[in-house]
Each structure stands twice: as C-alpha cells, then as structure tokens.
C-alpha cells in the first residue's frame, strides 16, 4: 500500500520534473486541449460553412456562386435583411440607453450594488424561450396586459405578433447582457473626474457629455456589439412574438435547415450574417470596444 503510494508520487514527481525542464511542452499540455477543441469544433465548422455556401443545392455538389446570386438578387431577401437591420438598430439603441441609465443609477446612486446587480443578471440565466413565453402570456389578446387595461376601463390591446412585441422581447433578453459592460466601465471610472468637472462649474448634463460618456465609451461600444450582433442573427424572438410581416434573416436560415433542406443556401445566408458580424467587430475594436475576456480590461 505505502509502496504503491510512493510509486505514484514518484511517477508524478517525475512528471513534474519532466515538464519543469520543458516549459514549451508544459504550455502545450495546458493550452493545447482548449485550443484544439475551439479550433476543431468552432473554427473549422465555420470554414466548412464557407465552403458549403459555394456548392450547388446539395453538399459535395459542384462549385457555384448561385446561392449568393439567388440571395443578393432577390428583393424579398434583401427586404428581410433591411428589416432585420432596422429592428437591430432600434433594439440596440433602446437597450443601450436604458441599460446605461440603469448601470449609471446603480453605480452612482445606490449602496445595494451587489443585490441590484444580482437582480439584473438573474433573468439572463433562465431559458431564452421561457422568457419569450412570458411575453406571450402578457401581450396576447386576453393576456395580462390586455385584461389589466380592460379592468381599468381602458381600450383593449393585443400586441402579440407585431413589431412592438418583437422589440419588447429583444429589449427584455438583452438588457441584462448590456448592463454588465456598462457597469464594469462605470465602476472602473475615477469618480474624482466627475467631482472635478462639477467644481469647475459644469452641470450634470455637461459633465456627463464631456467627462463620463467619453471615459466609459469602451464599455458602451462593447455593449452595443453584444446586443446588435445576436439580435441581427436571431430567429426565436421574431418567430414567437412577431407576425408574418416581421420576418428576420435568422428565420430564413432556420427555414432552410428545418423545412426547405437546402443546406448550401442556408450556409450562404449564414455567411452574409457573418460578414456583417465581422465588419461590426472590426469597427468596434477600432473604436475601442474591449471584447476579449481577461484582456487589457474595459
């Protein structure tokens, strides 16, 4: 027994010594597995998608540009892209304004920071579909909002299956996500700067526009990216809350994979979304957004 223990310890010590003398191998042993996993199962699939998007209507078919020409010459699809863009812009603007106001209020005016932050992030960790379902309960005709208004003697409203419903749904799911970078950049900011600005005679609005906003702009850009990109690619929210007029690009992809079974065409649309995403990311990092975890910090 004791002998066995000593042997294992000896083996492990040997291993430790072995790696101590070979630091590069040690780095490879630690960084290699997560690196390999992400390359193999995240990066390579995206490359495969790129390749498939240039094939005819089945995988392994001949090379072609047809998927892209079909997409880019169809007025229907281009309208969908435009509609998706508009919805994403509105959602991003609303979430950024509300989320920043909330983060600012918590950081500057509240002492119960931990509790409030917890209340903000908890909904984010529940199921996305469940959160959409909650809004079906509220917005449908005869739902919570409708019934409450009628009880108060107000006219009936049925918002479900409309663009406002889609906007409310998106705002609801992305608010917690956007508050986090706003909160982080506001807590990292030096509060003395605000005092200094006020001492120099600037009111709250001027102080905000010339001191607070510029110093926290990186957090704002991060938040904008974190909201705009997933909204642009979403299909769940418009499918569950939107009507037939609120088609978004993600729904077209879903359709290609779940009903039409034209994978190469679906892949091509996936590439169109990816191009938008990459452009935004480049723009965002140029402007100073910090997205890399544990990086230089926002």
């Amino acid at each position: 027994m004791a002998e066995g223990d000593a042997e294992t310890a000896g083996g492990l010590t040997g291993l430790v010594t072995y790696f101590r003398e070979r630091p590069r191998l040690r780095t490879l042993a630690v960084a290699g597995p997560p690196y390999a996993m992400l390359v193999l199962f995240f990066a390579i699939p995206l490359v495969v998608m790129l390749l498939v998007s240039f094939q005819t209507d089945r995988i392994g078919g001949a090379w072609t540009l047809a998927n892209y020409t079909e997409f880019l010459t169809s007025e229907t699809y281009l309208t969908v892209v435009w509609q998706t863009f508009i919805i994403s812009v509105i959602v991003t603007a609303v979430v950024t304004a509300v989320g920043y106001a909330l983060a600012y209020s918590i950081v500057r005016f509240s002492r119960r920071t931990t509790l409030l932050l917890l209340l903000v992030i908890l909904p984010f960790w529940t199921s996305y579909i469940i959160r959409m379902y909650a809004w079906i309960n509220i917005l449908q005709s005869g739902g919570v909002l409708d019934s409450t208004l009628q009880l108060l003697g107000l006219p009936a409203v049925s918002l479900l299956y409309s663009q406002p419903a889609v906007l409310i749904g998106f705002t609801y799911v992305w608010l917690p996500l956007a508050v986090l970078p706003f909160y982080a950049s506001l807590t990292n900011m030096d509060g003395d700067l605000i005092e200094a600005s006020k001492d120099l005679g600037a009111g709250p609005i001027r102080t905000f526009l010339s001191v607070t906003l510029p110093t926290t702009i990186n957090g704002v850009i991060t938040g904008v990216i974190l909201v705009f990109i997933p909204t642009f690619g979403s299909f769940i929210t418009p499918r569950l809350l939107g009507g037939t007029n609120n088609i978004m690009i993600g729904m077209v992809i879903e359709n290609q994979f779940k009903q039409a079974f034209n994978w190469p065409f679906g892949a091509a649309i996936g590439m169109v979304i990816s191009v938008v995403v990459v452009c935004l990311l480049i723009l965002g990092t140029r402007l100073g957004g910090g997205l890399i975890s544990g990086g230089d910090g926002t």
């Binding site: 960084a31 992400l38 995240f42 409030l116 909650a134 709250p204 994979f257 975890s293 544990g294």
Partner: protein, 277 residues
C-alpha cells in the same frame, strides 16, 4: 451659445436637485420590467382555467400534477441531463486549462486563444449552429448525441472561462512562492495552495456552465436532429404547436434551477466577477 445655455441651465439644475430620486425611479422601473414577466409566469403556473386566461378563476396545483405525470416531459429532463452533465464536466476541465494558460504562460497564440474563447459568445447562435450541423453531421457523420454534447461544450467554455479566469488573475502568486520556498514542489504547491484558492471560481464556472447547457436551445435545435428532445426543444414544440398551462410549470422548473445555480455561484465568487468582461 447663450440660447443653448438658457435652455440647458434650468435642465441642469433640475437634474442636479433630483438626480438621486430619478436614479431610484430608473432602478425601480427596469428591475420591475425584468421581473414582472417572471412573476407572471410563476403566478400563471397556479392558474386553473384552461390555456392562458387572465385573470384566472381560481388557483390550483393541477398543472404541477399534470407535469409530474407527463412521461414525455420527464424523459426530456433526463435527455437534457445526459447531455448537460458530461458537457459541463468537459467544459470545466477545458476552461480551467484555458484560464491557467492565459494567466500563467506567455506563448505565441495566447491572444488567439483568448479570441477563440470569446468568439462563440459573439457569433450569432444560428450561424454557429448551422456551421456545426454541416461539420458534425455532414462532414464527420457524427450522430445526434455526440454532436449535441460537443456543441454544448463549445457553448459553455467561453462563459466558464469568463468566470474562472478572474479567480486566477486575482490569486496572489506570492503564496505559491512561499510554498516553494518552504520546500514543496509544483505538484504539492498546486494541490495544497493554488487549487484551494481557485476552486470556488472553478465550481462557480461549472454551475453557470451547467445552467447554460441545461437551457441551451439553438445549437441543440440544429445539431441534434429528430429523436428525444431536450427540455428547451420540448418547450419550443409545445409553444409553437399546442400551448398548455403545463408550460408555465416547466418555466417555473427552469427558473428555480437558474436562480439556485446562480445564487450558489455568486456566493462562491463575487457578483462583480460575473460582471467582468
């Protein structure tokens, strides 16, 4: 300038005097907006009347009994667990290695690893989901189950790394030096000093990875194919084709799981760490 000033000054004074009260109103409104829908779900799970009628005539536990007797829903929970448990285990191991490597080693490709560990959060889920079907099912010819587990690992690693990395970054490395000065080798230092200090962060990362995996829908929806649905896929089908009040009960199950997991995770680290990006 003077016109702007005459307009601005009263506004500035207004904000100056009422800033604190306005902040209180903003906080109350937004927290209300975030929590009222959740309250509605919980309340409606006790509603007696058929499908989605508000206000309910009376309150009942009927739908909880229906849920507990629903074999399909129970099977969906089991299916979800058979995917989430192994995916979480793999994800925690890989995330800890990634966090350790990013914190300790300087190597070519370090920024690449950081980028790769962040991108799955940013790339729209549909895009990655589609790419995964094409590669896992199309190119590799994998079955639904292994494909889904792999997809869940990709989905959870970035978040777990995000939670685990700060605990490595804030760990005081002088403790390790002290341990080595006292004659312990790397192994004893790691198990005796480093691990106990970073373990809470790793457990928190694991709990959040599990929660995320249990809730995962988009990747699963694309990658898994037909066959036993996971609980989120089951709910999706229910909502789209035949809404029953039972869905409200399942919502409460999701809620309780998320709330308990996050509360334990937060008690193990600081809530601020979850807010770090």
């Amino acid at each position: 300038m003077s016109v702007v000033d005459t307009l601005m000054d009263p506004l500035e004074r207004l904000l100056q005097t009422h800033a604190s009260r306005m902040a209180g109103v903003v906080i109350a409104l937004v927290i209300g907006f975030l929590w009222i829908p959740i309250g509605v779900l919980v309340f409606m799970s006790f509603a007696d009347g058929g499908v989605l009628s508000f206000p309910p005539d009376k309150l009942t536990l009927r739908w909880y009994r229906v849920f507990l007797n629903n074999g399909t829903a129970r099977a969906a929970i089991v299916t979800t667990l058979t995917i989430s448990v192994p995916a979480t285990a793999v994800s925690v191991a890989l995330s800890t290695m990634a966090a350790y490597a990013i914190d300790r080693f300087v190597f070519p490709g370090r920024r690449g690893l950081q980028l790769l560990a962040t991108l799955p959060i940013i790339v729209p889920l549909v895009v990655t989901g589609v790419a995964m079907v094409l590669f896992f099912r199309g190119t590799l010819g994998l079955g639904g189950y292994p494909s889904t587990v792999l997809a869940h690992v990709v989905r959870t690693v970035p978040f777990a790394t995000l939670v685990i990395l700060p605990t490595f970054l804030t760990f005081d490395r002088q403790l390790e030096e002290a341990s080595k000065d006292l004659g312990a080798d790397e192994l004893r230092t790691f198990t005796g000093v480093t691990l106990p200090n970073v373990l809470p962060g790793i457990i928190a990362g694991g709990l959040l990875a599990f929660t995320l995996s249990f809730n995962e829908f988009v990747y699963t929806y694309f990658v898994k194919g037909s066959g036993d649905p996971t609980l989120p896929v089951y709910i999706w089908n229910e909502i789209r084709y035949n809404v029953t009040p039972e869905v409200n009960v399942i919502s409460v199950v999701f809620l309780l799981l998320a709330v308990s997991m996050v509360l334990v995770a937060v008690s193990l680290t600081k809530v601020e760490l979850l807010a770090r990006r």
